[in-house]
Symmetry: C2
Subunit: 380 residues, 2 copies
């Protein structure tokens, strides 16, 4: 472990909500944060110590921005990895490492990595277009995922039968056996340069049927201690095989036979860890900073059982954001809203989340429904 | 209760650590924060949405800054109250109200207010100079406090006997009977425009012998339920008599006879509430914003017993700040540092604090000592 140096210049590629919440954590340690994003009104734009407007996928922009920084991290995978490789050669600490981002940002490579490294995952084939999908009819029902360019439920399509094939992508990707899962789980792992590793409790996710985004989750998941151990061990093994420094969010399927499979991973803070800000002693954002600075990890235990509800832009509203119903939800104990500060709302856009605590699981569920019914993100 | 309006422009007068922590809370609600401070490198300067460098005591500067804002609050009492009065006349919401700041910022008026309103407090006389102090020798041992201009232990002097009189102030202030107290307690009250009131648990403070600042505190205080009720009722009554909207930090003496007396009050977030960020479900900063926006108050309960250690600049060091020992303190469970982001450290300057949680009081005390021994704020 090296001595903490508060004069390090830390860069975050991407200025969205994950970057914003990283900055909020970084403020407690008096860290100097530089942020780069193409959107001059992104959530980080007004709160980073130094904000630069520019393309995070453009080599020269990223290189120029990064060359005077000391440690660089990301809040989104779709960045110029080439620039990060060259910045690494200059001696910059790039966490997650460019080679890790390369494995993860392309779902074909990611999936092949799981297979090559004995990481339990659903069967798959690589496909490039409808014709190739047609060659794997026996594989249906399946999930067709684009190799690159997907995010927040985009670039993912379920193909249930032959008639669905036309909904598949004309582009390089995978066709993955549809898992008839019992639950979708997730584990956030933190790993440091010196190899220390830490896991947050397993959470259970429920997806929004239309938006294909996490609609809400519970922490901890209602699973047996055996499944919990299996999930955490699989997630840790995945992080170690990848060799990541930083957070690795590991999304898992729990099959009806009690098998645990890796669905996909993200090399950064993740939606499945947002409830840690209020629900756990250490947040995923704090933990990510500790990982990339090689500081000792914080206590990941739950303070209390928690739920997290994503706040998506209400269908039918597009324009300057307005939050409706805040007074009502704040009148109920231990409900904590987090609004991301995006100026413009659109249908299903991630605009914030709400963390809810309750020692009683039934009450937690009631509060989730109460929040979903009462808090709306609309436009003015 | 009015409907929450996230387009309100909120101003904070003063750019120090209290402003910074208010901004950190405000970010969760997507509130637009404007900050004014004379120091262009103050903790708020880089993280406020809009930072203006200018004197908070200058009428015209404060008036010009405030005239386009909607809600204005303070993080320090030493501001141009005249400007706030005139901004209030323009229809701006000023919380705490200018008339409340006037009562509190002058310790003579504050003390007289307690007396006039039947708020239990130590006996006192008003004095303007050494000669007047000499006329009250029978009052010694006593505390001589300047009416205005004191902060962080400055402007306060204990006069134990006649020989000490020369240490007294040549200036308008009070001479207050020295209370032979059992403990020093504090209660943070939040009060909203509609009169809702809420109290945080009573905390117990230990002062630094040389710096006359809170060195550390425990929450909750080790006191009987009767004393706890007495302290909270007295603090609530004080807030109601003053009619404050926002937070009122009420510092109290518990005498050896079990009497509770108001020592002094502050109309804003306060050092005695810093541990609420990690130790309580709602922080004092969240609660202050809820008070000034007339939102329902959050749950003030302790998550776990907590302690807070102030990080003062180490004696013998002056210059660009450096934090020594962070790795060591983070290696112990549930120790959370908050560095304020002040560029320059000076002996005894408040540079940060550390919040510590432990369900066991003895371990909490051990951790307090561990932090005090291992974490130092020095210069490069």
């Amino acid at each position: 472990m090296t001595e903490f140096d508060n004069s390090l210049k830390i860069g975050i590629l991407g200025g969205g909500q994950l970057g914003k919440m990283l900055i909020q954590s970084a403020l407690d340690l008096d860290l100097e944060i530089h942020s780069l994003d193409g959107d001059g009104e992104s959530p980080c734009s007004k709160i980073a110590h130094y904000f630069t407007q520019g393309s995070i996928t453009d080599y020269q922009t990223v290189y120029n921005w990064g060359k005077d920084l000391d440690v660089i991290t990301i809040e989104i995978e779709n960045v110029s990895v080439e620039a990060l490789h060259d910045l690494q050669k200059l001696g910059k600490k790039i966490f997650p490492q460019p080679e890790v981002i390369e494995i993860i940002k392309d779902k074909v490579i990611q999936k092949q990595f799981f297979k090559d490294n004995g990481i339990a995952t659903a069967d798959f084939v690589i496909v490039n277009n409808h014709t190739e999908i047609s060659n794997h009819i026996s594989f249906l029902p399946a999930v067709n995922k684009l190799g690159v360019g997907g995010y927040d439920g985009k670039g993912v399509q379920i193909l249930r039968n032959e008639a669905d094939i036309e909904k598949g992508f004309e582009g390089r990707g995978i066709l993955e056996k549809l898992i008839d899962f019992e639950k979708e789980l997730a584990v956030i792992i933190a790993r440091s340069e010196s190899g220390k590793i830490s896991a947050f409790p397993v959470v259970e996710m429920v997806f929004h049927p239309e938006a294909n985004l996490v609609e809400y989750l519970f922490s901890p998941a209602s699973i047996s201690p055996e499944i919990e151990t299996k999930a955490i061990e699989l997630a840790k093994m995945t992080a170690e095989k990848i060799g990541i420094v930083g957070l690795l969010a590991v999304e898992l399927f729990l099959t009806k036979d009690g098998e645990v499979l890796v669905n996909e991973v993200a090399p950064r803070p993740h939606n499945s860890g947002h409830q840690t800000q209020k629900g756990n002693f250490t947040s995923q954002f704090d933990q990510h900073l500790r990982a990339i600075l090689d500081l000792p990890f914080g206590n990941t235990q739950n303070i209390m059982p928690s739920a997290m509800v994503n706040l998506l832009g209400e269908a039918g509203y597009e324009g300057v954001v307005k939050y409706k119903g805040l007074e009502r939800i704040l009148s109920v104990e231990n409900i904590f809203p987090f609004f991301y500060g995006k100026k413009i709302t659109k249908p299903y856009r991630k605009m914030g989340h709400v963390t809810i605590l309750d020692s009683d699981f039934d009450k937690l569920t009631e509060k989730v429904n109460f929040v979903k019914e009462n808090l709306k993100v609309i436009s003015k």
